[in-house]
Amino acid sequence: MHPAPSVIAFTTLSGLGFGLLAFLGIGLPPVTGWVAFVFFFLGYALAVGGLLASVAHLANPKNAIKAFSQWRSSWLSREGIVAVFALLVMTVFAIALIFFGVRLRLVGLIGALLCLGTVFTTSMIYTQLKTVPRWNMWTTPPVFILHALGGGALLAGQPRLAAVLLASLGALMVWAWIVGDEKGRAGSTMETATGLGHIGKVRLLEPPHSGENYLLKEMAYQVGRKHAFKLRLIAFGLGIVLPVLLMLLLPVTHTTALVAILAHLVGIFAGRWLFFAEAEHVQALYYGR
């Protein structure tokens, strides 16, 4: 699948933002006043910035408001609604905390759950697609949620928790890579796509058009696959191993925290890029790709 920068930015940044907001909602770290303001500002900037990046991905954004209407069937619609609720509830919690020094525990808890709900609904947009077998796995939602929680814990200054969450994320990511590689296109082949398997092995003789088109650009992206191994190393090394070691072995200072966060960011960008670039869509079979 085409790794659109807007979608990569959206899923990673908003994931981190909602992760941080979720921790703030349950009182980690127990900040108030201006310090709280800074933390909430960061959380909102990431979450809302990510959501805005996703709007940049739309070809006809003037109808974006209609995306709140189909929650009965569409995960994308549900995501929009849950995100708005999460941001609203967290705003109530943040205002009470920052300006009145009051911690509305229940509101915070509900807000935290809605933040995780947003990340979950995002992940389901990908998980639901049978056409992309590498996404259509039980591992996708927990990977997204652990991404948000692990990164959120780093930002919230919770070194032990961050280490545990990131380590679990790392294990699950590796597992998803292995299973995803084995799964391939989950049994769909050029033979099932064309129904010509009863004659023999099928190959593309002539594509339907000589140039590129939307389908090839969007769903037959091939550049990523040859660098997959290196990118996996980067994603795992910088996104997981380095921050975990820093959090566990060194005294946590602003510098170590900053290095850990930056390394983690680079790592998850690489990982998320790969999440798209490596994912094969069954329709590319009609193009022999």
């Binding site: 699948m1 991905h57 739309l58 070809a59 006809n60 954004p61 003037k62 109808n63 974006a64 209609k66 995306a67 709140f68 209407s69 189909q70 009965r72 069937s73 569409s74 995960w75 994308l76 619609s77 929009g80 947009i125 639901q128 697609l129 049978k130 056409t131 992309v132 989950a186 049994g187 769909s188 050029m190 099932t192 796509a193 064309t194 129904g195 010509l196 009863h198 004659i199 023999g200 092995k201 099928v202 190959r203 593309l204 003789l205 002539e206 594509p207 339907p208 058009h209 140039g211 590129e212 088109n213 939307y214 389908l215 969007e218 769903m219 869509h281 069954v282 329709q283 009609y286 193009y287």
Partner: protein, 243 residues
């Protein structure tokens, strides 16, 4: 509403005969001509006369080669457009309600006034049957010529999809696949009409008729017919060998 109807009154669709399609692309051209000037936004072309022409099409013809264990390969021309699936994943993923399946005849359509161009429906379709228009930013797909088949302003013989009307080798058939007595249902029954990628559970309405298997030349036909030449030919054979 992007939930699917429980059932539809009719199942209008196409039956495509892979045995007779000659891969002439006439259906591609006629589809583009009709649909760029009728339902919804035009089908844009980009760099049409330049080095990298590309654009939106609702129907495309691939050509495949199937190679049996032994003997000659078989070339199959393969037109592909929306299959108007009964269990259409493209409809349920749509967040805006733009994509829908009609209860009366099962046609899957996009209401372009609601589409926000997110492209998720194209991701959900296994068949590559939806293309996001690069200029108009809305999702385009086969409408089964909904603006022809019920159109009383055009002659009756034209009230079928443009591709079916055009096909010079009669490889495309249109009708109600829910009615076992319809021409298309009979064709499907007689010729073993099949679903594409049935493993994905989309239950396509459109069916493909598999190509008939080619004759295998018998080995006897390839044996030399005259080993024992006589008379003039025997002399010629000898003379030529001695040169």
């Amino acid at each position: 509403m992007t939930t699917l109807p429980q059932s539809t009154e009719k199942k209008l669709g196409l039956v495509i005969d892979l045995d007779t399609c000659v891969g002439c692309h006439a259906c591609v051209v006629s589809c583009k001509e009709w649909n760029t000037s009728n339902y919804g936004a035009p089908l844009s072309d980009i760099d049409a006369y330049g080095a990298e022409p590309h654009g939106t099409f609702l129907n495309r013809v691939h050509s495949f080669e199937a190679q049996p264990e032994s003997g000659c390969s078989q070339t199959v021309h393969f037109p592909k457009s929306c299959l108007h699936c009964e269990d259409a994943p493209c409809v349920t993923v749509c967040p805006t309600g733009a994509s829908y399946k009609r209860e009366e005849d099962g046609i899957v359509l996009v209401n372009e006034d609601d589409c926000m161009g997110c492209g998720l429906c194209a991701w959900a379709c296994p068949y590559g049957a939806r293309e996001l228009d690069e200029i108009f930013g809305v999702m385009k797909k086969c409408t089964l010529c909904v603006d022809r088949i019920y159109n009383e302003n055009i002659p009756e013989e034209d009230r079928i999809p443009s591709c079916v009307r055009t096909c010079p080798s009669n490889a495309r058939h249109f009708g109600d696949l829910s009615n076992p007595e319809s021409n298309v249902s009979k064709l499907v029954a007689a010729r073993g009409g099949m679903d594409l990628m049935p493993e994905l559970g989309t239950k396509p309405v459109n069916k493909y008729l598999p190509p008939r298997l080619k004759d295998q030349p018998s080995d006897a036909a390839l044996e030399p017919q005259h080993n024992d030449a006589k008379g003039l030919f025997a002399w010629l054979d000898k003379a030529l060998e001695n040169i």
